[in-house]
């Protein structure tokens, strides 16, 4: 009979929750973002510079996750859309009520361009053995979120390291 942790580790390397963005990448969001942080990079404001350097307009690389945040409301939608579902699955399956993200890395590949229709999928990369930190006892895991454009080119990969845990006082319950 397999244990919960063995069942979870079977998912390592398996793409899950593939989805397509709710709208194509658009320039007005690029300008709103640049205005919010006063980013004057001519790649986003001067079409001649963008044409010369990047073969046409692109979106700021760090906007990668923006293209997948769901609308605040959509007709007929009944369930809240949770980003990084694999993270919440792990908390639930491993019975770890608390979690923190310890760090977040983004690697950028092909530029994202206005009009692109992006897809994403989540891949569990690792789940540690049980560890005790000052927060409590639990496990570290690494989840990659891969992003691709409509041509199938990878545009970026985000890696999240999470620590799911029980607080110190009830940490004993997790030693089984």
């Amino acid at each position: 009979m397999s244990t919960v942790i063995e069942d979870v580790r079977i998912l390592i390397g398996v793409p899950q929750y593939e989805e397509t963005g709710e709208f194509p990448v658009e320039r007005s969001y690029v300008w709103t973002m640049c205005a919010a942080v006063e980013n004057g990079n001519p790649l986003f404001w001067d079409d001649a510079v963008a044409k010369e350097l990047t073969g046409g307009p692109i979106a700021p690389p760090t906007m990668l996750s923006v293209w997948f945040r769901p609308h605040h409301w959509a007709p007929g939608r009944t369930e809240e859309h949770l980003p990084l579902k694999v993270h919440f699955d792990l908390k639930e399956r491993l019975g770890l009520p608390e979690a923190v993200m310890t760090d977040n890395t983004i690697v950028f590949y092909e530029p994202v361009r206005p009009g692109d229709v992006l897809t994403t999928r989540q891949i569990l990369r690792s789940v540690s053995d049980e560890k005790t930190t000052k927060l409590g006892t639990g496990r570290f895991w690494v989840i990659d979120v891969e992003y691709a454009n409509q041509k199938g080119e990878t545009v970026g990969v985000e890696s999240y390291t999470g620590f799911g845990y029980r607080r110190g006082s009830d940490a004993k319950a997790s030693t089984s």
């Binding site: 969001y29 709103t32 973002m33 640049c34 205005a35 919010a36 942080v37 006063e38 980013n39 004057g40 990079n41 001519p42 790649l43 001649a48 510079v49 010369e52 350097l53 990047t54 073969g55 700021p60 690389p61 760090t62 906007m63 996750s65 923006v66 945040r69 769901p70 605040h72 310890t102 760090d103 977040n104 890395t105 983004i106 690697v107 950028f108 590949y109 092909e110 530029p111």
Partner: protein, 161 residues
């Protein structure tokens, strides 16, 4: 039109070089604009009562993707448009609130040319308020190795971020 000359080329740099600081007075508008631009509708980034009562913070606070956009702006203000980000890692330690003056500082931590001839600059960047570090960012950014090079022309096997 010919391509603009690079603002900064790889050979101009040495490890330990300091980037110019960026100071910005954070207002409620800074927080809300950035939250909406990143499509983050969660109330602690626009509703002060919610932030106080539910998050136990003293005010609304900058969301993570907005901070990422500030780090990107800080990096490309320095590199100019030829600078192409390859990789960033963020660690958020504490919140940034309206009324704070955030200060971004950076240092060149590493310089390397990879086997495809791409010039990579490692940067260690901090976002602090009153001397307390609130977030850190390590970045790997490609810069032109000379005036004719353009990291944006790299793809597939010639782009190893």
């Amino acid at each position: 039109m010919s391509a603009p000359a690079p603002v900064l080329v790889f050979g101009d740099l040495a490890e330990g070089d300091i980037l110019p600081s960026l100071h910005h007075d954070v207002s409620a508008t800074t927080v809300v604009l950035g939250a909406l631009a990143t499509r983050d509708w969660r109330p602690m980034h626009h509703d002060k009562d919610f932030a106080l009562e539910r998050n136990g913070t003293r005010d609304i606070f900058l969301n993570t993707p907005n901070q990422a956009a500030w780090f990107e702006r800080y990096i490309t203000d320095w590199t100019g448009p030829h600078g192409r980000m390859g990789r960033v890692t963020f660690r958020m330690r504490d919140s940034v609130f309206p009324g704070d003056t955030m200060v971004l500082d950076g240092v060149v931590s590493e310089l390397a040319v990879d086997d495809t001839g791409c010039g990579w600059v490692g940067l260690d960047i901090t976002l602090s308020v009153d001397g307390d570090v609130k977030s850190t960012c390590t970045a790997r950014v490609a810069l032109p190795v000379d005036d004719d090079d353009n990291p944006w022309h790299r793809s597939a096997d010639r782009w190893k971020p």
